[in-house]
């Protein structure tokens, strides 16, 4: 669970280690490796212990089985011997001896084999001559008779004695077997064993060097093979076996054989092999620790170098990026071959379109890129820099890969390379095309502006805050009649008539103090004063601009003399046209007018007739007569008034400017159109706002406009047979800016095609129309500073309206 995290940590740290932050990593790795080594070592050790213990156990088991098996074999061979004796009913001593000698030869370890008769007195003893004890002992090496008797007295047919001390300080034991002759006991076969030799044979050298073996027979230590040196010294081996390291691994096994208790103890001795193994493990441990130490060091070194590398790389990347961000490139070349660039920064591609390789391999030279016209100049610059050893800078054009031209600024110096003692030119080339273009554009625009100012039809005058003229263009000379030198430095008020002349300084002072502008920012019509004293109308607009040092004002003056004359002519023209339109309209209204005059005429006629009849009847009734005549007179006046009104409307006259009450105007219009409305079955309604103010206008012209709109509306309603009704509303409304007069009809509305042609002269939707009505109306309203427009109603009807501003 921990390990993956650990590795993860290490990997992460390796990946983004930075100097000191990851310095614990090598230590950690070292410690981990050391731990692993130690763990391996201890496991090895343990495994070794276990192995040894196991082999000890195996050996013990093997010894036990070997002992048992060998003893069994010997017992059975003794039995066979006994059987043979029994079978033959005894043999001759020589035959017996040769027989036994074979046995002895076959199975080492015997000390002697003897036949005893039942009394134990007759002994045929055959001693193994190979055995060590036999060589040195007498023939009568068997235990004494008493001991044998004791042994055999109550024992079974086959038996084993406990340990018997043999001559020569040897331990032995005795194996016996009863012999029968013709079913009668006829003595014993007694085999005495030399324990040492027998065990040697049985154990078959398995104990050699590796193990210490101790054998007890009936609690008597009969064999002690603790060590080579102590092979024959039981006491010495006992002390040796007391050693803790060997006792730890000792194994003991008990086994009962033929009535005797055997105990075998096997333990590991300090053998060379074990020591070797241990030394190897030790060596492994130390070399492992050493390796981990080395690992720590190597890892630390790697990390550090990596970090350094990384930093270096970062630096070079930063440098690279910085170069790349430069709007140009850096280079160096040898002084001896200045056109071959040894190094160029990456910016060269962006700047010129050629790659670094192109330059560095010399396939393209910098000189060849320099515009031919500038080449000489740059070379001269370079030469003088080389001569003086100073830095140089030069601006010139280059031709790029795409044949485009760029302006560049180069700065460089001559320096000695530290590396190989050559003179280098180190330079930086920046793209200044944009700046250059801006510069050129600025120059051009300045020239353009100057030309504009000089050729402008308007007079352009710049003044300082004290009113002194700082500049004036040519038109100013022409317009005011002064020469420029007469104007510069003098106060601008010289160009104004009274009262402006004396108040101008105060205007300026007030503006500078309060910021309250009268003319600045807006245009205004004022008067100018020429050198010859004549006053003329001008349009003046002033704007201010802040230079570095101070505030300045620029005045733009347009001579309005011509314009005003043109306006007057246009006005006259408009008046004439308006008159034509009015007369035309009156013609169109003839039916209505006739009706209007017919009414009083009919009345007059009838009053007159009535009067005559009163007279004819011969019954003079003066009061009736008088009544008739008075009424007759009134009707005559009425007719006269109608005609007078028509005349007024039709008269050609100069336009006037009077105070006009639009409500009154609307009422007059309604009465003018009344008879026509009657003829057209239209009903005129007035919707009057009593709170509107008066406007300054030509009343007749306004009447003309309103009447025109009214008649158009009625006509529109009649043209669709009053499908949507026959009401036409004249409405006046006022707001803060001025008065709006609307004519709201219930006619067909204005179609899109008609709307396009609406104000065009000589375009009419009416069969008999001249088409000057609305165009003249619009022109009239415009000349009054107002607007004429319309909106269509929803589904039907249209509202034509015009606005007139209140006099300012």
């Amino acid at each position: 669970m921990n390990t993956p995290y650990c590795f993860e940590g290490i990997l992460t740290a390796l990946r983004n280690n930075r100097n000191e932050e990851g310095s614990w990593i090598p230590w950690l790795v070292g410690a981990l490796v050391a731990c692993a080594v130690f763990l391996g070592w201890s496991t090895l050790k343990q495994q070794e212990q276990v192995d040894l213990q196991r082999s000890t156990s195996i050996l013990l088991e093997r010894l036990q089985t070997a002992l048992a098996r060998d003893l069994d074999q010997r017992v059975s061979s003794l039995q066979r011997l006994a059987e043979r004796w029994s079978h033959h009913g005894g043999t001759a001593r020589s035959a017996w001896e040769s027989d036994v000698a074979n046995y002895l030869a076959d199975q080492p370890g015997y000390h002697s084999i003897a036949r005893l008769d039942a009394t134990l007195s007759d002994r045929w003893v055959v001693i193994d001559h190979d055995s060590g004890s036999a060589r040195s002992s007498s023939t009568d090496s068997l235990p004494d008779v008493a001991w044998l008797e004791r042994l055999l007295s109550d024992a079974p047919a086959t038996g084993l004695s406990s340990a018997v001390a043999l001559p020569d300080d040897q331990w032995g034991f005795v194996l016996y077997h009863a012999i029968f002759k013709n079913e009668q006991p006829d003595g014993y076969i007694v085999a005495s064993f030399e324990l040492d030799a027998w065990l040697d044979f049985v154990l078959n050298g398995a104990t050699e060097e590796l193990f210490a073996v101790q054998v007890w027979l009936d609690d008597t230590l009969v064999l002690d093979r603790s060590a080579v040196s102590a092979r024959h010294s039981s006491t010495a081996s006992l002390t040796q076996t007391g050693n803790a390291s060997t006792l730890d691994q000792s194994r003991q096994g008990n086994l009962a054989l033929y009535g005797q208790q055997w105990r075998i103890a096997v333990s590991l001795t300090e053998t060379r092999l074990a020591a070797n193994q241990s030394r190897m493990a030790e060596a492994l441990l130390w070399s492992g620790l050493l390796v981990s130490g080395l690992l720590v060091w190597a890892l630390r070194a790697t990390l550090r170098s990596r970090a350094e590398n990384r930093e270096l790389q970062l630096h070079s990347l930063q440098l690279e990026a910085q170069w790349r961000n430069l709007p140009g490139m850096a280079y160096h070349s040898q002084l001896t071959s200045p056109s071959l660039l040894e190094f160029v920064s990456e910016g060269c591609h962006k700047l010129t379109g050629y790659t670094r390789q192109d330059f560095q391999t010399g396939s393209i030279t910098w000189d060849s890129l320099v515009n031919a016209e500038d080449r000489e100049m740059r070379q001269a610059c370079l030469d003088s820099a080389i001569a003086s050893g100073e830095a140089y800078q030069v601006v010139y054009r280059i031709v790029c890969h795409d044949n485009g031209e760029k302006w560049v600024w180069e700065r460089g110096n001559i320096c000695d390379s530290e590396r190989d003692q050559v003179c280098l030119i180190e330079g930086m080339v920046l793209d200044i095309t944009e700046q250059k273009h801006t510069e050129i554009a600025l120059t051009e625009s300045t020239a353009y502006a100057q030309t504009l100012v000089d050729t402008a039809a308007e007079a352009i005058i710049t003044i300082a805050t004290n009113g002194d003229i700082e500049s004036a263009n040519r038109s100013t000379e022409r317009m005011f009649g002064y020469e420029r030198r007469e104007l510069l430095g003098r106060n601008v008020r010289m160009l104004m008539p009274e009262p402006f002349m004396s108040e101008h300084d105060a205007y300026l002072a007030r503006y500078l103090k309060t910021g309250e502008a009268r003319i600045i920012g807006t245009g205004r019509e004022v008067s100018g004063l020429r050198k010859d004293g004549s006053v003329f109308p001008i349009q003046l607009s002033v704007s201010e601009f802040q230079t570095k040092e101070e505030l300045k004002f620029v005045g733009l003056i347009r001579d309005l003399t011509q314009q005003q004359r043109a306006e007057q002519e246009a006005s006259l023209h408009r008046e004439r046209l308006a008159h034509v339109a009015r007369v035309n309209m009156l013609g169109e209204m003839a039916t209505g007018i006739a009706h209007e005059i017919n009414q009083p005429l009919s009345a007059i006629s009838m009053y007159a007739q009535s009067g005559l009849r009163f007279l004819d009847a011969g019954v003079p009734r003066p009061e009736r007569l008088r009544d008739a005549l008075e009424k007759l007179s009134a009707q005559a006046h009425r007719a006269g008034a109608v005609i007078e009104r028509m005349q007024q409307f039709a008269r050609q006259r100069e336009s006037t400017c009077e105070t006009v009450d639009c409500n009154q105007l609307v009422r007059e219009i309604a009465s003018l159109a009344e008879s026509e409305a009657l003829i057209r079955d239209a009903q005129i309604e007035l919707d009057i706002d009593r709170h509107i103010g008066t406007v300054q206008a030509d009343p007749i012209q306004l009447q003309q406009v309103a009447l025109n709109l009214l008649r158009n509306g009625m006509e529109s309603m009649a043209s669709i047979d009053h499908r949507y009704g026959n009401r036409i509303v004249l409405r006046t409304r006022g707001n803060a800016e001025g008065v709006t007069l609307s004519v709201i009809d219930q006619g067909s509305g204005v179609s899109a095609e008609a709307a396009e042609q609406l104000y065009k002269p000589f375009a009419s939707t009416k069969d008999m129309g001249m088409g000057i009505g609305l165009s003249i109306c619009k022109s009239i309203i415009h000349s009054h500073g107002g607007e004429l427009d319309f909106v269509n109603g929803e589904g039907h009807g249209a509202t034509f309206f015009f606005t007139l501003p209140y006099p300012s």
């Binding site: 039916t591 006739a594 009706h595 209007e596 017919n598 009414q599 009083p600 005429l601 009919s602 009345a603 007059i604 006629s605 009838m606 009053y607 007739q609 009535s610 009849r613 009163f614 009847a617 009736r624 009544d627 008739a628 009424k631 009134a634 009707q635 009425r638 008879s675 409305a677 009657l678 003829i679 079955d681 009903q683």
Partner: protein, 207 residues
């Protein structure tokens, strides 16, 4: 039918015209009444008025033609003389087609106007009598039972009693009794009178 005096009803929106015409009619002692608009006249009109109407064809709100149409719908018998300030032929034609008695252009010649008014009054008088007579005939015919009406129709068509009896499946005697009853109810003595009465009545019924 209680109001039997003939009057001239002047309908004109122009006060001067009304007043001067009123004065003119006064000179010949003709009873008259002035109205400033068509609606004002319609308010007092209940079918009992007798005489004639002098109407200005152009008036605001309701013009002369509309007044005429309204009166026609009420089966008004009053003849109408239209006046107009200018000759408006289409309107005149429409007015005449709708039964106007005359159409006069302003300013009118007073004598002409008075003559027309007199004619109109006479015409109205005749019309009125005729109307009265026919109303009498119709009311008499209305008193007939269905059977008598059947026999009245057949007799008026000139069928002989015998034929009528055969077609209706009644006896000739029954027909004779019914016929006598019809003659008596209709107050006629001869067959010719009966036929005339029937024609007159039918003419009225389907004008």
């Amino acid at each position: 039918m209680s109001q039997s005096i003939q009057q001239v009803y002047i309908v004109d929106d122009d006060e001067a015209i009304r007043d001067s015409m009123s004065m003119l009619l006064e000179t010949i002692d003709l009873p008259h009444q002035c109205f400033s608009s068509a609606t004002e006249f319609l308010e007092i009109y209940d079918g009992t008025q007798r005489g004639c109407l002098v109407v200005d064809i152009r008036m605001p709100v309701m013009n002369g033609l509309e007044l005429q149409k309204n009166l026609n719908e009420q089966e008004c018998l009053l003849p109408i003389i239209f006046m107009t300030g200018h000759g408006d032929i289409p309107m005149a034609v429409e007015a005449m087609r709708a039964g106007a008695l005359d159409f006069m252009r302003k300013p009118v010649r007073e004598q002409d106007l008075l003559d027309r008014i007199q004619q109109a009054l006479q015409h109205e008088s005749g019309e009125f009598d005729m109307h009265e007579k026919m109303a009498g005939i119709r009311s008499r015919i209305a008193t007939l039972t269905p059977k008598e009406h059947e026999i009245f129709d057949r007799v008026a068509q000139g069928q002989a009693n015998k034929v009528i009896a055969a077609e209706l499946g009644v006896s000739e005697r029954t027909v004779e009794v019914h016929r006598a009853q019809v003659m008596k109810k209709l107050d006629v003595r001869t067959l010719a009178d009966l036929v005339r009465l029937k024609l007159t009545g039918e003419a009225q019924l389907s004008p």
